[in-house]
């Protein structure tokens, strides 16, 4: 029997996930800058204050390190805080609390402590917000053992992964693409709907090339796949959905079928998610590959403000198509 579905936006998925988990578990609470009275700068948490009150939905000072630290302390002592960091760029200010404290508490204490902290933050360029409000820094925390990282590309994935994160006893970070808050999609109409971490999703089936894509790049990859189809190239789009843990099995099985892979992620290309995934594919699927694994990321430049420059830096479907063509035709990309 299939579950009924509703169409909601990516932003509504955030609100529904938080609200449902707060109704379900009174230890869940939510705090961040401008999240309560204003409903967040992206307006995705409007209404939570009205339903749950100011004890459980808290506006904080602009103190990323302080509120993250408070989240860690609350999580160590029986609560399930959700901390919003308005822009992913600002997470750099709270790094000690995530990297040195939250991520290591369970391990360092020999398993005594658990830290059920959920961090929500944003990634993505495209709004002319310039270099300090546009970065996609998901590789930073994916690098840290002890943290789980989700990077959802659809309303359904966001809702299911955020609910799982809130229920998880470990520090989890959800990277939401700020350009997708208005994106609509079907979501199962079920308060207990969750998606486990570590399970990739094949967003489009294909047989000639595997496009491993994250977050907004899933949609870029789907557009590229449509363009490639017209050229007779069948592209499969695999969305890892979580970077840590990472479901390599699904990616390898896809590459086994297609023999070619391109990885696309919106972060700076160097030392990032594309590098890790391409390396893992080259290492674990070497025998299946008919061509080198290629990757497409953002240019290694600070994200520029000018509408004339910014789009140049972000991977798009045209670049992805050219890259795929290069795997078949030795085309310069």
């Amino acid at each position: 029997m299939s579950t009924p579905e509703r169409v909601i936006t990516y932003g509504e998925a955030v609100r529904e996930a938080i609200a449902e988990e707060m109704r379900r578990d009174e230890t869940v609470f939510f705090m961040g800058e401008d999240v309560a009275a204003a409903g967040g700068v992206f307006k995705v948490t409007v209404g939570l204050l009205d339903e749950f009150g100011e004890d459980r939905v808290r506006d904080t000072p602009i103190s990323e390190a302080g509120i993250m630290g408070a989240g860690v302390g609350a999580a160590l002592t029986g609560m399930r805080p959700i901390v919003e960091i308005m822009f992913g760029d600002f997470i750099t200010i709270a790094m000690d609390q995530i990297v040195n404290q939250a991520a290591k508490m369970c391990y360092m204490t020999g398993g005594q402590a658990s830290c059920a902290l959920t961090v929500r933050t944003t990634i993505g360029a495209g709004r002319s917000s310039a270099a300090q409000h546009s970065q996609s820094l998901q590789a930073w925390l994916s690098h840290i053992p002890g943290v789980k990282v989700a990077i959802p590309s659809t309303p359904a994935d966001l809702k299911g992964l955020l609910k799982t994160a809130i229920r998880d006893d470990n520090p989890t970070v959800i990277y939401e693409d700020k350009m997708m808050y208005g994106l609509k999609g079907p979501v199962p109409d079920d308060d207990d709907y969750t998606i486990p971490f570590g399970v990739a999703d094949i967003k489009r089936e294909g047989s000639d090339v595997t496009l491993v894509a994250t977050s907004s790049m899933v949609h870029t990859a789907l557009k590229a796949a449509g363009m490639l189809e017209k050229e007779g190239v069948s592209a499969e789009v695999v969305d890892p959905r979580t970077l840590s843990p990472l479901d390599m099995d699904t990616i390898i099985r896809s590459v086994e079928k297609t023999s070619r892979a391109v990885v696309v992620d919106e972060a700076y290309q160097s030392y990032g998610v594309t590098g890790e995934l391409a390396s893992r594919i080259a290492d674990e699927a070497f025998d299946y590959l008919d061509a080198p694994v290629k990757r497409v990321g953002a240019m290694d430049v600070p994200v520029p403000f000018s509408p004339g420059l910014e789009p140049e830096t972000i991977p798009d479907e045209a670049k992805l198509v050219r890259t795929v063509q290069g795997l078949f035709h030795d085309v310069a990309v």
Binding site: G71, C106, Q112
Partner: protein, 339 residues
């Protein structure tokens, strides 16, 4: 300026001992246990039985014990790299602590944390910390948690004079104050942040506790080598926090008799003077407290000696326990990355 912002400087009358005898005995026992424990750590470190870094608490015992003797078992505590004293004061077991010093499987953290990360969640000890100021947010969050759950628990955040200059202090103190959280920020001012005099790097007139005024919270500057004064201050501030009146800043003025960590040379030959150290040695919190117990007739010299013998034996047993405990099995290296 409101009354609550007045800074109080406090010490107790050395001629009196205005605390109940069982409490005095507990305070003395804990302080001496810390001293003997730290001497044993120095010993095992020097023998090569302990690796890493050993930051000794010797000289500061009245601070940890004075504060923790005012807490309930389920109150929270965050500690620092110089944390052994806080743990013992809150009820930590010396054998499991010593095993952790040596990285053994019977250590509090199964050998995975070591000296700078010992925790006992069952005692509300959320951990020592290797990051200066790293526990400030955590203590604030624990206090928030206690308040939200209506549990009446308070959190104590121990930190040194070095951490008062971390941004984490400003952010945590502000948050604790706007939300009236039950947290005691306890600055143990031992006058040196590693090898640099606090007075050289801290913009205050006289006391670091002056900074509390900027957060609308009361401050108390305490003779941190006077266990009675520290305890009495803590009782008052814990009561205040428990009844919803919010955070405070306590500055315990004290001194570490050893260097920043074992093996880093002789402080008196580099960044501080023998004269200064001698002044503080004359204020050693343990003999000071012992003299008061003797004067109050709570103990005699023979009993002081017998207590020392008992504690020394307990610490020796802890060292033996740690020595006999094995290292963790290699397979444990991947355990506990995730809960």
């Amino acid at each position: 300026m409101s009354e609550s912002l007045e800074m109080i400087t406090t010490s107790s009358d050395e001629g009196t001992l205005p605390l109940p005898e069982p409490l005095c005995r507990e305070i003395y026992d804990k302080m001496l246990t810390i001293r003997r424990f730290e001497e044993a750590v120095l010993d095992i470190y020097t023998q090569g039985l302990m690796r890493g870094l050993a930051h000794l608490y010797i000289g500061q015992e009245a601070s940890a014990v004075g504060i923790c003797s005012a807490l309930n078992d389920d109150d929270y505590l965050t500690s620092t790299h110089r944390g052994h004293g806080h743990l013992i004061a809150k009820g930590g077991k010396v054998d499991r602590m010593m095993a952790e010093m040596m990285g053994k499987v019977d250590g509090y953290n199964r050998g995975k944390g070591g000296t700078m990360h010992i925790a006992d969640m069952s005692l509300g000890i959320l951990g020592a910390n290797g990051i200066v100021g790293g526990g400030m947010g955590m203590a604030t969050g624990a206090a928030l948690s206690g308040k939200m759950r209506g549990s009446g628990q308070v959190a104590v955040c121990f930190f040194g004079d070095g951490a008062i200059n971390q941004g984490a202090f400003l952010e945590s103190a502000n948050l604790a104050s706007i939300w009236s959280l039950p947290v005691l920020f306890v600055c143990e001012n031992n006058h040196y942040g590693e090898y640099t005099a606090a007075s050289d790097v801290t913009a205050v007139r006289e006391h670091v506790a002056e900074r509390a005024a900027g957060f609308d919270m009361p401050a108390v500057v305490v003779d941190g080598n006077d266990a009675v004064a520290v305890h009495q201050t803590a009782v008052e501030m814990v009561q205040r926090a428990r009844t919803g009146e919010g955070p405070c800043l306590i500055e315990n003025k004290t001194y570490r008799y050893r260097g920043h960590h074992v093996g880093d040379g002789d402080p008196e030959k580099t960044y501080r003077t023998q004269e200064e150290t001698d002044t503080w040695l004359a204020k050693d919190p343990i003999p000071r407290f012992a003299r008061r117990m003797l004067k109050a007739g709570m103990m005699d010299e023979a009993e002081l000696e017998s207590i020392d013998t008992t504690i020394t034996k307990r610490v020796e047993d802890a060292v033996a326990f740690a020595n006999e405990s094995p290292y963790p099995e290699a397979g444990e290296v991947t355990d506990h990355v995730y809960a």
